[in-house]
């Protein structure tokens, strides 16, 4: 078992970042400030999260644990909306991706809890990291899928309207765009699955091995997690792009680009 790093050990790591910042200053890249600010944010954010989670873990009640997960889901909804080049108008910008992402996460976390069987089911040691890693993956998939879809609809407007004018339904007219947006949204998680172990050692597995766990066991839980991520991203990206395709058309099969900001 390797002990967790103390303040002096972290200072060693910080020195490494300082070298990076110094290099940037010496080469005139103008990144020194950004690097230092990002490093300070990282320290503040993770220290705070560590404190909050320790408190929540100590309370021993399901309410606060679910509350932490809900805050994470809200942050994910915000990030999805903030990533959009031409977002949906009004609350849809955050609500659509956020609701679909939260739904997909709930399903994936339920599957994860069913296979890990923690006692009690809301044990924060299982629920919080599970929800976090699933939300992160679903969030980036949905953000890419939605951004690609709205961009493609705007670009292909003439072709879509030509099909509609000739009597195609909205599903027929948008099907190729839905397909390619879903595919784009799933590429990150597919890469993650294909590259796991060979090219990158997944972060969670790294953490477990550093914390002294048997690599075989770490691999098993990593496999489970990647399955959950793939399933959740599939659900989330497909659901979000389909929902956006409904929102960008109406019951009379019209293209409604006025619903984009």
């Amino acid at each position: 078992m390797i002990p967790s790093p103390g303040p002096l050990d972290l200072a060693l790591g910080a020195g490494f970042v300082l070298v990076n910042a110094g290099l940037s200053a010496a080469l005139g890249l103008g990144l020194a400030r950004t690097i230092l600010v990002a490093a300070c944010r990282l320290v503040a954010q993770l220290t705070l999260v560590g404190l909050v989670l320790r408190t929540v873990f100590g309370l021993g009640a399901p309410g606060p644990v679910v509350g932490v997960v809900a805050v994470m889901a809200l942050a994910a909804a915000y990030e999805i909306g903030a990533r959009q080049e031409r977002p949906l108008r009004g609350p849809w910008r955050y609500a659509l991706g956020g609701a679909v992402g939260a739904g997909a996460t709930v399903v994936a976390v339920a599957v994860g809890l069913a296979s890990l069987r923690p006692h009690p089911w809301w044990d924060p040691h299982a629920l919080i990291p599970l929800a976090g890693i699933v939300l992160g993956s679903v969030m980036s998939g949905i953000a890419i899928g939605l951004n690609g879809f709205t961009g493609a609809v705007r670009r292909e407007r003439a072709g879509i309207e030509a099909r509609l004018a000739l009597g195609a339904t909205r599903n027929e007219a948008l099907a190729p765009l839905v397909r390619s947006a879903v595919r784009a949204g799933l590429i990150p998680v597919l890469n993650q699955m294909a590259a796991a172990g060979l090219i990158t050692l997944p972060g969670m597995m790294t953490g477990q091995i550093l914390a002294g766990q048997d690599p075989q066991g770490a691999a098993a839980s990593q496999i489970l997690i990647l399955f959950l991520l793939a399933g959740a991203s599939g659900l989330g990206v497909t659901g979000a792009v389909l929902a956006a395709s409904r929102r960008l058309t109406d019951a009379r099969h019209r293209l409604r680009l006025d619903r984009l900001a």
Binding site: E156, R157, A158, G159, I160, E161, A162, R163, L164, A165, L166, G167, A168, T169, A173, P176, D250, R252, H253, R254, L255
Partner: protein, 201 residues
Amino acid sequence: MLRIESLRRDRFGPFDFGPFDLALAPGEACAVTGPSGAGKSVLLRMIADLDPSEGRVSLDGIDREAMPAPLWRRQVTYLAAEPGWWAETVAEHFSADAPARLDPERMALLLPPEVFGWPVARLSTGERQRLALLRALAGGPRVLLLDEPTASLDPDSVRGAEAVIEARRAAGLSVVLVSHDPAQVTRLTTRRLAVAGGRPL
């Protein structure tokens, strides 16, 4: 009979538009005239139900709201001034039996038989415009809403396109035409609907 009664922008629309009234018997053709930006294209798009609108539009006494919008647009077909394409080759924009069925009209439009195998990206503007007309005719519409259908054609192709439209009209097709060519308006249509600032004059 295409009947339009007090067609106007729906109340959530960004500006006032309409109201327009028009009745077109089978085989009748009406020109929509007016300066650029008067709302001629918007009027055609509203008739095709591609833009939200209020008022009554019916074909042979059947309201468009009584049928799914795709069915309405197969009968009342809008042809945009800059028609869009959605696949690689020309053939993918037509049903499998369409090229054989449209052979005489393809010839009248001065398009070679092998045009269906061509990639869309290689078509000239004039070829696109003629193929889009052919594509709109392929579904056998009852009403055709033509938005400057010959704007980028040479004189021979214009004559071909007008002959194709005339032949369909003789067989009962109603036409609403937006054109900036007064001679063409006289040749193709018997009625006028003047538009200015989104309103009938």
